[in-house]
Amino acid sequence: MALSTRALGTDPPGASTVPVVVDPTTTSVRGTSLWRDAVRRLVRNRLAMAGGIVIVVLVLIAVFADVLAPLPYTKTNFGRLNESPSRQYPLGTDALGRDVFSRMIYGARVSMLVGLGAQLIVVAIGVPIGALSGYMGGRTDLFLTRFIDVMYAFPRLLFVILVMSMLGAGLMNIFIAIGLTGWVGIARQTRAQVLALKEKEFVDAARGLGAGFTRLLTRHILPNALTPIVVAVTFGIPEAIFTEAALSFIGVGINPPTPSWGQMVGEGQQFIRSYWHLCVFPAIAIAITMLSFTFFGDGVRDALDPKMK
């Protein structure tokens, strides 16, 4: 495609009547490129597609929360506390008389923001460290891998809770905490890939042609190391969502009054005997979200790496 458009663009105006001959070998190679092939396999995977549709719906809910929610998430009604689901309040009200349904809708915002946003930070930290470690080798590699090993030995969630309770609750701090801990896995993956790729002939060839360090890494090695990184990121999303929910559940995640599903389950489960509706609906939301991302992630993995199935 890119080839033919470029050819058209540079053609002199008079020559446009001449049919553009596209080299059949390039088109057939492009037709079965890894990514296009992967997308085809992904679309054929019904479970993954179902997960993908739910994810799209969740993102839409998160974006249009202001329009969709019948009430603001802070609106209290002290005359109607802890009410069961009714026509006016479809999922009931909480201990401050706030509409659980509206709070659930706004809760999607936090989950999606953390799930997708945290991965940017994780990639931004993990990929350079892993690439550097693998490419440089020697003492840099030794130092970085030792550091990675220590971080790996830490129980992940324990460290996140530690960082959060020290920094204090808040969305920004959740990003920091997940970023500080989440990069380790991606760094390991990237390092292993770079280590294997840097010995390949095409890298040697590029080096021989005079490509510098940055160019070698960003143009030749990393694009070929992308598959496992993409898979790791896809699985990192539900993990980040889980982390936020878990942190908010124990009260060191999102600051009230901003609603988060994890926080709603955490507060609601204390009154589960009397007011089951407070924690059941957000619990269902978390379960559905986690399952959708897992199915989608499984699909992406199988699509990119058919051998793994």
Partner: protein, 308 residues
């Protein structure tokens, strides 16, 4: 063999030290102090009192000294007094709560191994038929859904809809059922997935074919020949699973009101209970490292191809 174990044990020392250092730095590099009032918006202690307290707990010394003192005492098992539960030493609290967490964790892990292996074998033997779907979906739910969410569903189902078990407490064996199941679900799912994958591979191997060819019936083929080698990759999983069960128990313990270590952990973190935080993080670290070593040794014993 001996050399390998010795080397691994020696490596434990710098790893634990680094862990302690990272935890220590995170605690001290972040704003806030254990002398701040716990209640939000409360008046701070008068400066003289703060100074006295800092002196008493050694918080006025330079950081490197504080760390050195901590390490020196910790080696002897002395973690000092808790900042939050002022009259009790950290060691005392841990002695009381750790066995409970360990008991819950062991039950959960036993259930996870038994259930996970059963599900995995069933799934592999009946690949792409009924049992396979049942066990794969159960495994996926166990892995994907957080345990505090599972706990809510289990309580609704088995305490309210069918009132079989209490919603919390830790007095009789009946109280143990729901927390154990909740905690076991995630590791069970992981074990089931791995067992299924590795069984599927082994079932197609030549030696399984040989076993069938010499006329063995399905039972001995699966349990005597296939399972033995299918188990090897599953054993490596146990290390990370200990960690999953350990951190998972914070949530399970707080939902089901189990008087284990998990509940103290969160409280000590938010209360900036420095000695308690260090002790909890390090005991988890040591526990995990030792378990990983044991798992690696078991791996070597199971697989004759591995020599240390």
């Amino acid at each position: 063999m001996f050399q390998y174990v010795a080397a691994r044990l020696l490596w434990l020392v710098p790893t634990i030290l680094a862990m302690a250092l990272v935890t220590f730095l995170v605690m001290h590099a972040t704003p806030g102090s254990p002398l701040d009032p716990i209640a939000e918006g409360a008046n701070p202690l008068p400066p003289e009192a703060q100074k006295k307290l800092a002196e008493y707990y050694g918080l006025d010394k330079p950081l490197y000294q504080q760390f050195a003192i901590f390490v020196g005492k910790a080696v002897r098992g002395d973690f000092g007094f808790s900042f939050v539960y002022k009259t009790r030493t950290v060691a005392e609290i841990l002695r009381e709560t750790f066995p409970i967490s360990l008991f819950l964790g062991s039950m959960a892990l036993a259930l996870a191994v038994a259930g996970g292996l059963t599900l995995g074998i069933l799934a592999a033997v009946h690949q792409n038929r009924g049992w396979d779907y049942v066990s794969v979906s159960l495994a996926t739910v166990g892995v994907a859904v957080p345990n505090f969410v599972l706990a809510v569903f289990l309580i609704i189902l088995f305490s309210f809809v069918i009132p079989l078990f209490p919603t919390g407490g830790w007095d009789s064996p009946r109280d143990w059922v729901l927390p154990t199941i909740t905690l076991a679900m995630a590791p069970m799912g992981i074990i089931a997935r791995f067992t299924r994958a590795s069984m599927l591979e082994v079932i197609r191997a030549d030696f399984t074919l040989t076993a069938r060819a010499k006329g063995l019936s399905e039972g001995p083929v699966i349990f005597k020949h296939a399972l033995k080698s299918a188990l090897i990759p599953v054993v490596t999983l146990l290390g990370p699973l200990f960690a999953a069960v350990g951190t998972g128990s914070f949530f399970v313990e707080s939902i089901f009101r189990v008087p284990g270590m998990g509940r103290f952990f969160v409280l000590s973190m938010t209360g900036r209970d420095y000695p308690m935080i260090m002790a909890v993080v390090l005991s988890y670290g040591v526990f995990l490292a030792v378990m990983n070593l044991l798992v690696d040794l078991a791996y070597g014993a199971l697989d004759p191809r591995i020599r240390y």
